[in-house]
Amino acid sequence: MSSKRKPTNTKWSHEFDTLRRENLFKNPPQDHSAYPLLVQAISPHIESFNEVFREGGLVTKAIRDIGTKYYLDGDERTGPAGKNVLSIRVKDVVVQKAMLPPSNKFTTKRHIFPAECRERHVTYRGRMEANLQYKVNNGDWHSFTRDLGQIPIMLMSNKCHLEKNSPDLLVQRHEEAEELGGFFVVNGIEKIIRLLIVNRRNFPMGILRPSFKGRGAAFTQYGILIRSVRPDETSQTNVIHYLEDGNCTFRFSWRKNEYLIPVMMILKALVDTNDRAIFEGLVGLPGSKATKNSFLTDRVELLLRSYKHYGLYTKRKTRAFLGKKFRIQLGVPDTMSNYDCGTEFLRKIVLVHLGNVDVTEAQDNDKFKMLLFMISKLYALVGGDCCGDNPDAVQNQEILLGGFLYGMILKERLEDWLGTNLRLVLRDYLRKTPGNNFATQEFAKQLPVRLMGRTNENIGQALEYFMSTGNLVSPTGLDLQQVSGFTVVAEKINFLRFISHFRMVHRGSFFAQLKTTTVRKLLPESWGFLCPVHTPDGSPCGLLNHLSHKCKIMTKSVNASAVPQLVVDLGVVTGSSDIDEAVIVTLDGKVLGWCTPKQSLLIADTLRYWKVEGSHNVPKELEICYVPRSQGGQYPGIYMSSSPSRMIRPVKYLALDKEDFVGPQEQPFMSIAVIEPEIVSGESTHVEFDPTNILSILANMTPFSDFNQSPRNMYQCQMGKQSMGTPGTATRYRSDNKTYRLQTGQTPIVRAPLHNDYGFDNFPNGMNAVVAVISYTGYDMDDAMIINKSAHERGFGHGTIYKTKKIDLSEGQRSRSITYMKKAFGFAPGDEAKGRQGGIDEDGLPFVGRLVQDGDILCCWHTVYVDASGALKNRDGVTHYEKYKDGETAFIEEVRLIGGENGSDPLSMISIKLRVPRSPVIGDKFSSRHGQKGVASQKWPMIDMPFSESGMQPDVIINPHAFPSRMTIGMFVESLAGKAGALHGLAQDSTPFRFDEENTAGDYFGHQLMKAGYNYYGNEPMYSGITGEELHADIYVGLVYYQRLRHMVNDKFQVRTTGPITKLTGQPIKGRKGGGGIRVGEMERDSLLAHGTAFLLQDRLLNCSDYQKSWICKSCGTFISTQPTVSAYANRRKGTGKVRCRQCARKIEGALGSGTGETWDDGHGQRWVGGEDTTIVAVPGVLKYLDVELAAMGIKLKYNVGTA
């Protein structure tokens, strides 16, 4: 086709668009996706990863921060004089796309696509190389390259083959037409790095935390915390603590250790200053209002006075002092002077966002000003002039993006490699060959290859470990509060679940253990950023949130370079705060200047106008947080941010009637109307585009959710993610352990337009069902539902489970090549005939399409060795069989033979995909989209179902009692709307907040029903299917979209009378898998007792549990002294059948005893007489165990045995 196609339409409404969708399926677009909203939803993941490796990206910035490492040769114990200096640095890091290794010479297609990695259960990764440079003393720089292993690559990122692929191309590459990327393929499993909530960067937060008091003597609960972020996205948290006497201490953590420094020392080290300048910086010029605040002046005076005893007056001296104290911690070379070391300390640790590489004097001055501001805020906090900032509010939070975290780990690995690792190798080298100093030829020859080869340079493996386990192995801890749980599997149970993973934001596993619930609370600050509905109930409630669907996360900083000059033009004074009651103006944690409170409002308003207008080079994504002066409210000022990781969301700016982006920090101080009628003239500056913008993608899919009681909407968000749906269309090329598929999915009649915008019709998630709300049979009590048997036969809810079983014969081996081969698929010679009977093919693999049942053979293998000619020969003539061990019948769907990436390895791994058909059975779980779950209780024959006047019969019957307490009115409305939609052939728009008291939903859909000749209220007269009589009440019938949930009885049922037991106690084992029992606990026992069903209780607790017959001695009343007797004349197998009590018996000394009674032999050659008073009793097995345990502690149990 040469004619130019029209670009793919991306506008969607709530209509069915059946033909348009069909066409999209038949002819996947060759330009771009038809669902841009989907692409947008996951873009923070991909964009953040792209930031890492793009030109001038995070890695480049990280390399600059790492800088050059210096090493000295010679004896460690002697001083630096006369030693050679080796300088080494990373020039750049190059990552290649996923390619076949050069050893594979069998193909010209060198790319490895993600689909292949999924199928082969390997990691989608690309080789990473570092270009290094080194010089000795002041020689020239020499370059060399080192291979750093293969790193996992995010799909659809700029290092992925799928980047910018059209849907058409994606289909050719065995992906979903709407493949989104944003995850990694690790060992064939899709993994995603969770979005994490962290403190807002570069903003000094006032913290009131009682636990601060425990940090040491004189510490108080007051502190100012700033999470300072370097350009490479790594962060360093600085805290200033307020001490009881009014002093301030600077705290930071370095390599997991905490350090404290008087804040004055940092101030003096940063710039050449004097006490007067510091005093005026904190209090103001003489004569200003603040100087009369004796609370402040007293404390500042003390701050200055108490520092005197250090005797460090100049910047030079102070830096040298700091340098001397921290040289070890910083790991600087011996040649560096103390002063330079102090400079290095300030560069690496103090307010790093204001300068971390080649720090200029101006930058040091910025740091100085910021520190002064922090101290002022701290004193204001202590004095009660301002309140603390809430670290649990979104206002003071931002998102740690997956890509950024990935970059942070990469940076740390690089630094560790060049810093720590190489140091050890060099030391070792110098110790072994002291002759070869750095200046020798020999060293120059060995460094790039031999010596670097000894370092642990497989950074790729470290990253793969991180992706695979989610564990962070880090010497610094990366300024994070957790070390595990960073990655999760992006399960593709259905598409809703899959997409939710990318919108998921976690508060951090540290907070999961917290006993207080404050962190979990839904705060008003979250409005529009985090969905109030979409959070799970139970332990992760409120910690695991989901982004509102319009909320974006910035992945780049916006260009705000014009802002500093603009604010100066608007009247901000850059010098010192010599204005009375000055209000601070900052941009990204840098003090721009001060202005009067009056000016500050004007400046904020002007900047906002400009940013929406797009003039004066003020970017639209700039956040301008104007905090007004208040009585004990938040510390006033204008805090602007242009940094990445911020959440932003679109709202309409009323002054220009244009889109504006607001951030969580500024939002609490703005007046944003939710709907147009709410706008208050002169107060509201913004209005929401749509009230549904606050909901997450999933919460938006709940029809008429505004009619429901809110917890029901939360339940639906959970159940939507558990429903059996359509995971995708490329299931053939996937090898998930377990996937679910609904065979008869439909598009819902009632849906929001967003349903189409997000392309959910590509992944049907349920079925439209005719639902009657009636108590009809008695089988619908307590949330059970009745399914029409004929509906079931038509395929209602029919589903399938696909299970993939990987069989790897080379597990644990180093290589898959033929020389290492120990096992091979197939039969040992002579066993081939057995294959035919066992149902497997000549190659030892199952026939594709075959039915397998419990115990059937899946495949077989035998042990082999490689003979001289290179052929595989069987070792022992034994064929081993792998069996199918599930109780359910399944079909062999696919058998995949998996080769190595060299293309030369013989078969050592296969994966078998099994298909388990799962038609709905009694006990399977279904739910509507309103948190109304129920269990199928009967398949009711069609002839016995009630029918309406037009002859319609319900597919599903639910009990009316499901409604009064749950108040899911949305389900009633959906039923009405669905009915009207089906009758008229309409798709019904179910967006919440569209109806009100005047225009009710019931009226709107009621009239539609009337038009179709039905009852306005949705009720219909119905007739009993059994008697044919009209039912006394009209029945509420309509169409509701039903989801089949993945919890099915076939995976859950647990039955046993006898079976495996625990050896120790004789009681049944735990767990369904091993055929164990279900515990009858105290409460169950109480219940049986209360019912007077003592025999049932005995059956459960004894007969079906650890019932045991045991010998006991009646006279001494114990189990443990009984023993069987031995006799030379007795039957070998049965023994004598006599059991005697050893304790009651008397040992016979000498030849023969006194002759009172029968003698017996104990098997040790000892003869006894007596102890005959034994009998058999039935006891629980644990009783005997208890007896033995107590006996071991010297406690005797005595049983009084009577007769029954």
Partner: protein, 79 residues
């Protein structure tokens, strides 16, 4: 995932894997036993492979092969 359950991948340290002393992989690997029909996972080409043969498509070099659906009668009880 706990640290203990993690298993370092053993397939492809690629060039890092020890080079094996086999010049021509093809000739050394004269497979034996019965040949079975397989299909390429990429180009759909059909090929017959014997035991010990390297697993790759003879046409395109792809490394995932599918076993073909059996031609034997597959009959199930209709329920």
């Amino acid at each position: 995932m706990s640290r203990e359950t993690y298993e370092a991948p053993n397939t492809g340290s690629g060039s890092r894997a020890p080079a094996l002393g086999r010049g021509n992989a093809e000739s050394a690997l004269g497979g034996e036993g019965p040949a079975t029909q397989y299909k390429c996972g990429d180009c759909n080409a059909q090929m017959k492979l014997k035991r010990g043969d390297p697993i790759r498509c003879l046409d395109c070099g792809h490394r995932v092969l599918y076993k073909e659906r059996t031609k034997r009668m597959v009959q199930f009880e209709a329920r």
